[in-house]
Symmetry: C3
Subunit: 372 residues, 3 copies
């Protein structure tokens, strides 16, 4: 992020909530195809951002506020050199510097807006959300080679959640809800899900939850997409990272191979789930699902994507109802059950990263968005 001299770091309100998110890391800001010929407004980690793609194909992200009269720059238009404000025509380049004030020769030093590092990688847009104005990326954004793997076809979408991002983590890390929430699509028998053995492992900030369901009934989406002979050996492998979750599910004919073989044949659904806080109370959910068409069957990609979208809509309804209920009941004790091991580990990772961010800010002695 490059902080414009005319902009204080963030409003008091933003700072107070900032410790709710780990900072100094890449977050998903969008899917590559969202940026065409119009600017895109999106609030990310409490910061209103405008993203745009210049005619040369490069992408950029600025604070979504003209420094003249505060119109969102996302109301403006893209030109070869940058983004022009839709009120009085100030033109800003990808770094936030004002290049032109129509009708005025002199461009004051303060004519600039803050910019953010935005990278396009594997058709995902990643934004660096720094704890300090001078925070710079220390590593490239995460790779997601599935999007470029010729065995797969994929599609996806963006879902807005009126709920905090960690409730989405909980949901993705505990697929036992499939048997109750997604009965009609990817779910299937609730008892099998609930009773399947769960392996939870952790390495650094990565939490992995693996559930194998050998010799089970194919759920509707699976049966529609792949010519299984009968019962199936099914896998669900969830890999949590603080900014995104990868879920590899699939199945093969029962007894036809080893579930722990990385080159497993059969039907595959590989999901990418970017979970980015919008505010402390809301989130963006960027998903893609990739699948492998069977050579003797019609391409199931469209079907899989449609059913996945329907499934995620079911999740959204549940999670938003859950959050509204948490809000109206206030802080109250809950009980944990066996399926909560994975989600609880992920919550500990996030908590540790938030606390580390606060400490780092305190030690550096510099102003930090991560300090309240």
């Amino acid at each position: 992020m490059t902080e414009c001299t005319s902009s204080p770091r963030a409003s008091a309100q933003v700072q107070a909530q900032a410790q709710a998110f780990p900072l100094d890391r890449w977050y998903v800001a969008g899917l590559a195809w969202e940026l065409e010929d119009r600017p895109l407004a999106r609030t990310l980690l409490d910061r209103p951002v405008v993203m745009f793609r210049l005619p040369d194909g490069s992408v950029a992200a600025l604070e979504d506020r003209c420094c003249h009269r505060e119109l969102p720059l996302s109301c403006g238009t893209i030109e070869p050199r940058g983004l022009r404000c839709g009120y009085h025509g100030l033109l800003f380049d990808s770094g936030g510097q004002c290049l032109e004030i129509p009708g005025q020769q002199r461009i004051p030093a303060k004519a600039c807006v803050s910019s953010f590092e935005l990278r396009e990688s594997d058709q995902i847009l990643w934004i660096w959300m720094g704890a300090h104005p001078d925070s710079r990326p220390t590593e490239p954004p995460p790779a997601y080679p599935v999007h470029g793997d010729p065995r797969y076809r994929f599609g996806g979408d963006v879902v807005h959640y009126d709920a905090p991002y960690q409730l989405i983590h909980d949901n993705l890390l505990d697929l036992s809800h499939l048997g109750y929430v997604h009965l009609k699509t990817i779910g299937g028998n609730a008892g099998i899900h609930m009773n399947a053995e769960l392996q939870v492992t952790q390495e650094g900030d990565t939490v992995k939850v693996v559930r194998w369901m050998p010799d089970s009934e194919p759920p509707p989406t699976y049966a529609a997409a792949w010519p299984f002979a009968g019962r199936i050996d099914r896998w669900q492998e969830v890999e949590f990272h603080p900014s995104h979750v990868c879920i590899w599910t699939g199945a093969m004919d029962a007894g036809s191979g080893r579930l722990d073989d990385a080159q497993r044949h059969g039907f595959h659904m590989r999901g990418f789930h970017g979970v980015t806080p919008e505010t402390a109370d809301s989130a963006h959910y960027f998903w893609t699902i990739a699948t492998n068409p069977h050579p003797q069957r019609p391409d199931p990609t469209q079907l899989v994507i449609e059913q996945t979208a329907a499934t995620f809509e079911e999740d959204r309804l549940v999670i938003e109802a859950q959050y509204r209920n948490q809000q109206r009941f206030g802080a109250r004790p809950v009980i944990d059950i066996h399926v909560d091991v994975g989600p609880n580990r992920a919550r500990r990772v996030i908590r540790r990263l938030c606390e580390a961010g606060i400490q780092a800010g305190a030690q550096a002695g510099t102003p930090s968005m991560a300090r309240a």
Copy 2:
């Protein structure tokens, strides 16, 4: 109410407003036919409640929050033994005890939710709202034999008000507004309403307002429902109870009988009006209207119910506009006029009951929802 051990009595927010309602009494929670095969969510006196009917016909009410991850239980499904949560499948019985945690043998002692006494009586659902967690009903819910009287046919509905419940009391206890608000249906000449003599009496917590309008013009609904010869002797008898208001209106041909005869012949409209606070600022209004079909005329019940529903919609618009205006003007003096005697008595009853509840809670030395 049976308080689950894992639930504190009520959130601080709920307690602060609780003194706005008399507690330790039955309130209307619904109409019997609202409970079929799906759970029903309704907030009553600031407490979110889920009501449901088991396949055996019994009814039950629980706090609308699963003790695991706080999804409203009203998002779940009814099974023979109870209500199953729609997220991870926990099953609760009518008393709020968890019977099953799918995939887990042990059911922790804290796996329970609070329950409320819910009784079905004369096709009305009554809920006991206690001041303490251990408050139990001290009497059966009020009887309403009109619903079982073979002379009448009835129907009704539920209306949500964005206004405090006492504004509905005011409206029901002062039918002089009929001449201005309900001109097209049950109203009729405003002057006759306003000038009719009013008798207001009180016995304990019951306030009675009687208005007789001898030798008056039949209003449109009356004329459509009953073959009056010409002018009519008309009665309006309102009986206020803290939880509901009974209104007996009707008319007979002018001079054909005594208005003070309990066995009056003629056209009858007997209204039941359950008025239950949702919050301090909103209310539920449960109404039924029963009428006696004339032997030589088509059954007017449907007509009467439709016109009553239209009438209550007129009331709702007025009362909600009144409340919005009270809110934007803030506390300001008002004047009273002659028609306010009944409403003001009812307000004194409610105030006394609220204050008595606060005192009782203080004397008992136990935590009480009625204490701020």
Copy 3:
């Protein structure tokens, strides 16, 4: 304004914000044709007002709250002697005095509501917003003879803004935004607007911004309305008053006359823009546009009005987006550019009037809406 004895001056909330507006002056409350046979509710400078026209043609404005049970009087009906409340039928005259309480002989002294001076002048409704309850108009409302000038035909409308009134002043006083916001209608080449010389003058509370654009291209609306031979000499003359802004724009064939001639021939658009705060955060915008039909061309008035309405809708979208952005970013520095001279002068006028109002209230030693 005549304050009713039963009404305290204003709620604390209203007083706290009152210093945001200059008081003791006329504001536009409506356009004459808005008052027909039904009362009109409108909040003006934080005061909810009901306006109505009696059958004798006179107009009146009262506080929009019945003194009995606080229903808005705008829910009532107009009668020859005044406005009758829609709940219990109290009748109020144009001065706010209660004339009748149905069913009751005695009318208490406190049965009254506050009234406001409302004047109809040149088809504009002007209301006097006083700083004190006993503040009386010290001068007639502003004249606007254009509405009665036989050379012009005019029309107009009312627009509600979810934005503070001064953002509308900014917009009207800086027509340089035409080149970016109104490209399709009255805008035209952005560069010409931005580079045209600007004359800003001030006399008392009146700020004048004049921009001449000789030898320029006619914008779409102009070309559609007037048979220009080719290029045009164009004028934009903006005259700011604290309660309204007059904008005289137009053009003649290039070189065919003097731009500083008050009797200029050619195509004229004369705009009246009443800008009245609704609250500190919202405003009413009352506009009319008058134009002179060309003798050999179809009357362009309807076209000009439609395109003007579309233009003002473009402005509203920009200004409301601007205000939402100001709110979410909080107080942050901005830069000024060359076009801000006029708007900034107008803001200084408003600030001075607000401060003078506060001082006057303090000196008078009387309670004042202008004092916090």
